[in-house]
């Protein structure tokens, strides 16, 4: 078996792909039962698995695929019609094959699960239907039901049957007898194959009247295979038709070991580092002054551009199409629709959208959950739909597309939508907001409660899913990879969920902080805000002071107590310049971090820079510490550890965030639910507010950094262009002059950091007690809020988008 291992592995890989194809084909066949090409493709796939399993001696696999093939043969020959029973049985077959293959992959053997019932039911469906037809046709047939006393072991036992050579093929000349399906398909026959099986085999091999014999030949094939070994010697009852599926693509792709791709990407990363060093050496003033190699700069330039292209190409090799996830959905939707008694048409668009292979697995479960939710709770029963004047079949629309460096997956149904009123009531009932606050919240904001743990409005929770249950898990999983989930719903018209996923996990934005002499990286996804820690009693603006609560350091943040963790003492790093510690808080920065269970402030000595880092794994002995999520190599070649915000919270015994809080805490939860705004002053002196949830970060740029590209003001940051929109231009149509040597840009989160708002300065962050007043809603303005008693305009960040995209953004709003 050892020699075979590689072949078995190949067989497993190939079969996994084939099974996915089978799922799709079978569901497609249900729509077009007469598509003979589709049927042939299914038949061939099952036949291939059967053949190969015989070669490797996987008897169970051989037995069930054999029965399946027989059924398919009957179908193809028009002896039976495709109905729900047949499709159901075939899909069960696919599941069984998958389960056996899974077992083989894990243990190398088929395991002892019993599939005889399946084999029997496949054979029964095949033959009963035929018999029925014969009855209809007036032919007198004695229908033999398999005797209960004869266990289906017969099929397996057939492997011990002596070679067929000894048998006289004379019997074969009587095709009429053999073609009698009642005889052939009867398990009894298989148990005594010396009579029936071999002649058939000879006959088919001789190529005589193959059409007539196909089902029969198929029925006995495993018997023969068990004897003969390699499937190549087994006569294939179907003429070998070349697969029509994208032959051109197949010829242009090769299988490459994933490890090899990984090392390629690593090496390219190393090359990038060397390139950086080369560049800094050449551009160094001393070298520039010598300037004895004018050609050198040109060469460095060329190396620079080639390296950039090479890096892009290498990263592309890690990409896989989202098809891998989507391909499972036709089957899932079909099964679920049957279970729920619904009619659902699934439409898929953009399955060829690519993203990093490490992400494919991560998004599989959340997306599956959303799809199940849509079928189970989104789409109504046919009766309810018709009553509402909709077509009885619901539509489920899956779409994936690239957008500003991210992949967006949209799951849209035309079902009943989410009852916003019920969500609102539930939020009040659960104490997440007061009734007054709930009434003031916009519908969009109310829908966000769906992502709260344990939040469900489903009247009854089915075994399939309950909308709301698990939505918090969906969001947690997606946010863990730096993505986001939005939900929009219109009562009666349907629900749209948009999942945004970064293109790659390997490169994440991170904050580089310092602690003692060391630097660490913190994933930006966990960072909520940065606050300067007040040294001594002075300070003002965005600073805070450390207080003690039962011996644990805490900080007051907008009326809430935020637990603090001092990184230096936690890691045992001796303080250098400033003695930062719980007892002598003197300077430093609080990085407010949020993971699923914790929210706390991590006190570091300083914040260096925010940059994209390449995440690299660290050995298990270090992962086991629970403090580090990995490491990265920075531009200068230094290794920097990536902190694990959640692990640090656990190591420092930060209390978990309560899911539902009572009493005092209720105000906290309510505050979390209410909007916060960043208030800033525009170039022309206007005071405006930006919803804080739309703000990714604030950056200061020197005026010279602004460039013009395609009619837009842009700055180059972190290797990409960020459009800079002037706040005054958004509000009154004319931009304020840029006289100051530098300006502050509010980089917008909703637009993936590709748009920044130019403002003169940041004033404060407010959480107004009264909600957004939408009376004055207009082009660039969402409404107004009261800041220190004055009405302040809230900017609609979507209006800041470059023109070409604004249609899309309006859609998002709708």
């Amino acid at each position: 078996m050892n020699d075979n291992e590689e072949f078995v592995r190949e067989f497993l890989v190939e079969s996994a792909e084939n099974l996915d194809q089978l799922d799709r084909d079978l569901v497609a066949l249900e729509e077009n039962p007469r598509d003979s090409q589709l049927l042939s493709s299914i038949f061939r796939t099952v036949h291939t698995i059967k053949g190969t399993s015989g070669f490797f001696g996987f008897a169970k696999l051989g037995a069930i695929t054999h029965s399946g093939e027989h059924l398919l043969g009957q179908l193809r020959d028009g002896k039976i019609e495709l109905d729900d029973d047949v499709t159901g049985a075939l899909l069960t077959l696919v599941d069984a094959v998958r389960s056996i293959l899974d077992r083989i992959e894990k243990t190398g053997a088929e395991g002892d699960e019993d599939f005889h019932d399946l084999s029997q039911s496949l054979s029964r469906i095949a033959d009963e239907a035929v018999a029925r037809r014969r009855d209809d046709g007036g032919v007198v047939v004695t229908r033999l039901t398999p005797p209960a006393s004869l266990p289906p072991v017969a099929v397996v036992a057939a492997a011990e049957i002596p070679p067929p050579v000894a048998v006289e093929p004379v019997v074969v000349a009587e095709p009429v007898v053999v073609a009698e399906p009642v005889v052939v398909a009867e398990p009894v026959v298989v148990a005594e194959p010396v009579v029936v099986a071999e002649p058939l085999q000879e006959k088919t091999a001789a190529g005589q009247a193959p059409g007539l014999f196909e089902p029969a030949a198929a029925a006995v094939a495993p018997t023969i295979k068990g004897e003969r070994g390699p499937p190549a010697t087994v006569p294939v009852p179907v003429p070998a038709v070349p697969r029509s599926k994208k032959p051109a693509v197949a010829e242009q792709t090769i299988r490459v070991d994933v490890g090899l791709l990984g090392s390629l990407v690593d090496l390219v990363g190393e090359l990038v580092l060397a390139r950086n060093q080369l560049e800094s050496t050449v551009r160094n003033p001393a070298a520039a002054a010598r300037d004895d190699h004018p050609e050198l700069l040109k060469v460095v330039h060329r190396i620079d551009s080639v390296t950039a292209s090479l890096q892009a190409a290498a990263m592309k090799t890690r990409m896989q199409s989202i098809e891998q996830v989507f391909s499972k959905f036709p089957r899932i939707v079909r099964d679920l629709a049957v279970t729920c008694g619904k009619e659902v048409t699934l439409e898929i668009d953009g399955a060829d959208t690519e993203l990093d292979r490490s992400l494919i697995e991560t998004i599989r479960d959340p997306l599956t959950h959303l799809v199940r939710n849509a079928v189970d709770h989104g789409i109504e029963t046919p009766g309810a739909r018709v009553a509402r004047g909709k077509p009885s079949a619901g539509r489920l629309f899956l779409r994936a597309y690239h957008e500003s460096g991210q992949v967006t997956v949209e799951i849209r149904d035309d079902g009943g939508g989410i009852p916003v009123t019920a969500v609102r009531q539930k939020a009040v009932a659960r104490g997440l907001v007061t009734a007054d606050q709930a009434a003031a919240l916009s519908d969009e904001r109310v829908l966000q409660f769906i992502f709260e743990p344990g939040f469900s409005t489903a009247a009854k929770v089915t075994d399939v899913s309950g909308r709301g249950v698990g939505m918090d898990v969906v969001r947690t999983n997606i946010e863990a990879i730096g993505g986001s989930v939005d939900i929009a719903s219109q009562p009666g018209a349907g629900t749209t969920v948009r999942v945004r996923i970064p293109l790659t996990l390997a490169i994440i934005p991170a904050l580089i902080v310092s602690c003692g002499r060391q630097r660490f990286a913190i994933p930006q996804a966990a960072v909520r805000e940065l606050i300067a820690l007040r040294s001594g009693g002075g300070g003002g603006g965005a600073t805070a002071a450390v207080e003690g609560l039962d011996g644990s350091p805490v900080m007051r943040l907008r009326g809430r107590l935020l637990p603090l963790v001092f990184l230096g003492p936690l890691l045992g790093i001796p303080a250098t310049a400033s003695p930062g510690g719980p007892d002598t808080p003197a300077g430093g920065t609080v990085v407010v971090l949020r993971s699923d269970d914790h929210e706390y402030g991590l006190v570091v000595d300083g914040v260096a820079v925010s940059e994209d880092i390449v995440v690299k794994p660290i050995v298990s002995a270090l992962v086991a510490l629970g403090l580090y999520a990995g490491a990265t190599v920075r531009g200068d070649g230094a290794v920097v550890l990536i902190l694990d915000p959640r692990g640090i919270a656990q190591a420092a015994h930060v209390p978990e965030r309560p899911a539902v809080v009572a009493g005092d805490g209720m105000a906290d939860a309510a505050e979390g639910a209410l909007a916060r705004y960043l208030v800033c002053e525009s170039g022309a002196g206007r005071v405006v507010a930006v919803p804080l949830e739309d703000v990714a970060r604030l950056e200061i740029f020197p005026r010279e950094r602004i460039q013009q590209a395609a009619g837009h003001a842009v700055v180059h940051r972190e290797g990409r262009l960020t459009a800079i929109a002037d706040v005054d231009a958004l509000l009154v149509g004319s931009a304020s002059p840029l006289d100051a040597p530098s300006f502050t840009a509010v980089i917008l989160a909703a637009l993936h950091g590709d748009v920044g708002l130019r403002v003169k300065r940041i004033l404060e962050v407010v959480a107004p007690s009264s909600p957004l007043n939408c009376d004055l809603r207009s082009g660039g303005v969402l409404g107004t809020i009261a800041v220190a008693g004055r009405a302040t305009e809230v900017i609609d960040v979507r209006a800041a988008l470059p023109r070409g995209d604004s249609a899309a953004s309006r859609q998002v709003n709708a």
Binding site: D266, L267, E270, L641
Partner: protein, 165 residues
């Protein structure tokens, strides 16, 4: 005396002759299977990992790959080198992951006949005996043969835990 033999599956007696990479730590000779060693160089500085097991001196950037550097003095239970030196890195691969052993000096690559390898005696003064798989008497003294997997397996232990074994 078999108490000190670690439960390693790769018995050094199996092959007729094995090639070892020998090096010096705290004045004594040690060796690892040369087949596991991928490269040897005088080390660049490493990045310390706070709260890591004491035997891990830090992380090393090996052509973009992040490799833990194991201080063999500490791993074997000797006093840490007081001199601030980067040491010699012996990079080896075990279980698909690369590790670097920081040693004082590199000695030799030697083919050692399997018959000449003896089971280690329980040397009470040697804390690192949990990774010693065999002993070979070379012309200029004893060479302790270290099991690569055992070196790595015991990484997370503290010196006290190793003494307990």
């Amino acid at each position: 005396m078999t108490a000190a033999v670690p439960s390693q599956s790769s018995a050094p007696h199996a092959a007729a002759s094995r090639r070892f990479c020998t090096f010096v730590v705290a004045g004594r000779s040690f060796a690892v299977d040369a087949a596991a060693v991928t490269e040897v160089f005088r080390g660049p500085p490493t990045t310390p990992v706070p709260r890591a097991p004491e035997a891990i001196r830090g992380l090393l950037n090996l052509r973009g790959r992040i490799v833990p550097a194991i201080d063999m003095r500490r791993r074997l239970g000797f006093e840490a080198d007081q001199r601030v030196g980067d040491g010699i890195h012996v990079v080896l691969v075990s279980g698909g992951e690369a590790y670097s052993l920081i040693v004082d000096a590199l000695a030799d690559v030697a083919d050692i006949p399997a018959g000449a390898i003896e089971r280690p005696v329980a040397a009470s003064e040697m804390v690192g005996r949990d990774c010693v798989e065999g002993v070979y008497a070379a012309r200029d003294g004893l060479v302790h043969l270290l099991g690569v997997e055992a070196i790595i397996a015991g990484l997370g232990d503290t010196a006290a835990e190793r003494k307990m074994r």
